[in-house]
Symmetry: C2
Amino acid sequence: MKVYLDNNRASLLDTQVLEAMQPIYTEHYANPSALHTPAIAARVPILEAYEKIRSSIHAKPEEEIISGFSADALHCRLLIATYLGTIITGQKNQIILSSSESEAVLETAAYIASQGCRVTLLPLDSNGIVDLSLLKQVITPKTALVSLTMVDSQTGAIMPIDEASQICAEYEVPLHSDTTHAIGKLPVDMQMLGLDYLTLSTETMHGPSGTAVLVVKEGKILPNLLLPPSNRADLVGLGKALELAVDAQAFEMEDVRELRDTLEEAIREIPQSLIVTPWALRTPHTVMVGFKGVQSEALVWELNRHGISVSAEKGHTLIAGIGQDRNYTHTLVSFALSRYTTEEEIDYTIKKLKEAVTLIREERIQ
Amino acid sequence: MKVYLDNNRASLLDTQVLEAMQPIYTEHYANPSALHTPAIAARVPILEAYEKIRSSIHAKPEEEIISGFSADALHCRLLIATYLGTIITGQKNQIILSSSESEAVLETAAYIASQGCRVTLLPLDSNGIVDLSLLKQVITPKTALVSLTMVDSQTGAIMPIDEASQICAEYEVPLHSDTTHAIGKLPVDMQMLGLDYLTLSTETMHGPSGTAVLVVKEGKILPNLLLPPSNRADLVGLGKALELAVDAQAFEMEDVRELRDTLEEAIREIPQSLIVTPWALRTPHTVMVGFKGVQSEALVWELNRHGISVSAEKGHTLIAGIGQDRNYTHTLVSFALSRYTTEEEIDYTIKKLKEAVTLIREERIQ
């Protein structure tokens, strides 16, 4: 049996997404900037994709959508644009980020710091939730940007964007959030959340990889940094994937959650296991766990021998204060289900997971 | 009847390319950097695509392939890398380009010039062929790079890369060529041509748009400039499109050429027409023509009314010395056929073209 539970890194493309993309290749292939009718027709599906993106996150028609290759690349672009726009000019002097941002984003932040800007990284608490007490202490009217991922890709932890948004509003500081792992799992409303910038990519929601968008609140302007836009067919796929993800939200919150909970209960039955983020603070499809004495990679490999794909987690979240119990260092593994996951697959996974943990622990003792 | 003759800007995706891309979405969607079997399997089609790219242009296994969004973006990256690698350090002091390069490339060259580097643009002669006499005059051992498009996208003019390569070799100067409009129309052999860098994209050869590669000769190293790589499905599509384009070369050189020649003869029968590049110096599927007194846009629109898509040409080539006859300023239109073009479509185009030219000329006189 093949069971794919690494959906927070990449996911099966929905056949409806593929069907939406196909006409761009076979029918609307003309260069949209040409003068003839096929070029004009080629603009229609792009405009429709923009509409789908807007309605999925409640963006207004005035809000600009910039496409790109990945949410990370667009996030880095936003950081550089902020640096060039308001920091280098002396208007602002600080950027505040969650410490759980991706490596590419943290590297860009480190570059900005090396140029003399104050960069503050907010730590995660022991539940994997970003700690806003530091935000309250360090934010000033001269803060150029606060940037917090909405849902952690590894733990599924839901960050308090609402609260961060209120703090930012008080100081009139723009707020950005990468909502990739939130959409389709919980409601994402750009206006309600009070976001000035929102990024998302759809490879984890059954859309094409290599496609992302940055949505810019009305009135905010970003310098053009010459990053290439995404491929047109992929942008249309992203629009469709978003629409389907929002449609499937109730299914994720009920049916997928039920399957994840079945897996989670079985995990809790395994002695000396540690689930990082509490149930109520997590998206419905994810559970990250460590088994004492069971190294992540060993478990990933052993499950893989039985056709089960999961993700070994390391780095950021540990550094950020999760799993401070040394017994669980290098043991974290993330299970990420999807709307395609079946009961049969979860039952099989539970059986093989229990066997794998026992086997690896026995081998260690010998 | 619908006739699409704008194939040098964008082209119908070959169904075989779409079939090659589909499994990346539906089967090999796992992130290739993960540890499990699906991830390892996902690397296979990528490696196969690299093989197809190498064999299409006779690149050696040691030669690095860098993927990106467009041939232009990769070309700009090469210019910046050359600037950072050898010019800023004072080792070299000059870049030589064809004046018919794209706007993005010329802008990047202008930036480098503004930083104090000597940038020489080689003009096109009245046939639309790059003039190498200036290259011989200005090249020195301190030239950092010579960059010449292999085939002009508008006229289809074939540039003397062989000769340029000999000149560059004499001074040990690296040579780059964008071969996008040459592949599948004439043989492209990276070793025979003596190229150090080769770029190509496949949207004009029935491959996916938004995908390109830069091939780097063994031993040459480029600094990583953080440009995103292309989407995996698109890279696989590019590999397949290249393979099919090379397979179809004989068909292009005989059957497509015959259709193009039928169109070309009919064009010559229209009084006061000017075909820019001589027949023997052009790729088999393209013809660029001006009709005295018939403005490009007027002709594009009139043909479009009858379902025929062609391209209005302006800017670069004119500036570069083509069509110096003032009667033909702003009259140039490019017809670019493909392996999907039919005899019926060409007969229809000839009929409508003659009517359109007559109509527009009559309207001008009234």
